[in-house]
Amino acid sequence: MTDARTHTWLRPLVAVFVGAVFFLPLYLMLVNVFKPGEEILPDPAGLPLPPTLENISGVFAREDNLFTFGLVNSIAVTALSITILTVLSAMLGHYLARSTRVFAKVLLVTLLCGLMIPIPVILSPMTSVLKAFDLMATLQGLVLVNVGYYVPFGVLLFMGFVKSVPRELEEAAELDGASKVRVFWQVVFPLLRPASASVLIFLGVWIWNDFLTPLIVLGPDSGTTVTVGVYRAIGQYESDFGDLFAFMFLATLPILIFYLALQKNFVKGLTGGAVKG
């Protein structure tokens, strides 16, 4: 087609330009992580030459350990939450996808309504429930809240996928004498690997990045997650962008690595599932 050929040089040029403008704020953060604080405002966009690790080491050297404590909490909360969520929503999604009764349909609709509910709407009574179980300001409490709030999303993803697993596979295994539990873990769950990868990626990123829930549930005294740590650090650094950017850079790095690593697995899982199926 003619118009595709006449502008062959225009498209990449425009695309790179738009991409560069879009990326500018992230570029500004990245270069200034490695620039001495006093050089940032006079020359925000310049490359950090020579680069300094002063800002990064400053984050680790903080006297209140805001970053290191936050990092440990974030890893614990995110890892626990997404593991429990994957297991529970795979089982629940499987149950709802295979059940034909009206009761199961009602449960499903009730669950899917949860996808629309913004956290602020339920936050205050949520803390009352946590207090009743003596779980307010604990990591376990935060994990439980995450599990309850994100289970509908996990179920939605798993349900769509369970339907692609032939029911005959399960029936065959049952005829061979395997229990329901064993059929699920040894036959169904391995076939759901792509769905598990999606649930882990999405929920891992969301839970790591959550702000309001950990801010309120963990409260001011019992430590924070790294994301809330970024918020706490703002007031202290005020206009010292170098330290603040380094804090954010380090707070983002683990989840970015997790995302990139699992994304590869996600593609592999898809093809692996196809061969097995």
Partner: protein, 320 residues
Amino acid sequence: MADTKHVVRGERRLATRPRPQPSRARRPARLAPKLGRFALFALPGLVAYGLFVLLPILMTGYYSLTNRNPFNPPTEFVGFRNYVTLTGDPEFLQALTNTVIITLIVTVLANVGGLLVAMLLDRPSKLYLALRGVFFTPVVLSSVVISVIWRAVLTDDGLLNSALRGLGVTDPPGWLSDPELALYSIAWIITWQMLGFCVVVYLAGLQGVPRELQEAAAIDGAGGLARFRNVTWPMLAPALTINTVMLLITGFKAYDQIQVITNGGPGTGTTATMAFQVVKEAFVGNRIGYSSALAAVMLALVAGVSVVVLRVLQRREVTQ
């Protein structure tokens, strides 16, 4: 390769766990097979959802009919008084207006921008794949991180105004300090954050448009614009539905950016959203009853609008 092997081994370990106690799995199967299966597979997830989402929703509904305030007992039943108060509360009305403005801007801008960028990147080459990653990056970042970056860019003596002054602009705008501008800056930041999501969804939609259809239309003499309107756009209907509903919900619950960047200001409540107001009333003012009424209104609005929009857009998908 090493990764996958590891995953496989992990699964096998999980899988073998039930084997040592087959009796436990068989016993409920004999007594009441359906109930046992329900308790084992469905109940754990449902209990968590019930305790931390359903029960709190009911509690919000109940609290909204009381004057509950932990620092000012006793709690009394006040009927619909909180809802009546809301209709005359200027802070609530402003938060409602701000939320609608943010939601409209984000929904329109991110949809249009996302579609344009997706069409720009809809070519099979490494360059466009890399650029897709560039646009998607903010989706993976925390809105707290994004807020802090944009605050550093847009604040009065921030990176943007320093650059503008360097270019000779003597009095650059107060992007976040001017009460007229701040709300639009917030909407812009959320748009920037959500754009990559729309790009990816539209790209998936574009890749589902059969090339033969485009070529057939071109042979019939359809120009670029006519081809887009009559061939491409109708086939993007599902992508439009996903993006619009996602953006509506995101805009409606906007909280993080306001808390981190403006704290509702400049001035009183110029950037306060409904979510911000709900949290402020509950955790700063301790007016749980009043905050719950606000929350109930917010939930009714977000649910009502998303259901209506979803219906309308899905009907459009079918007819086209």
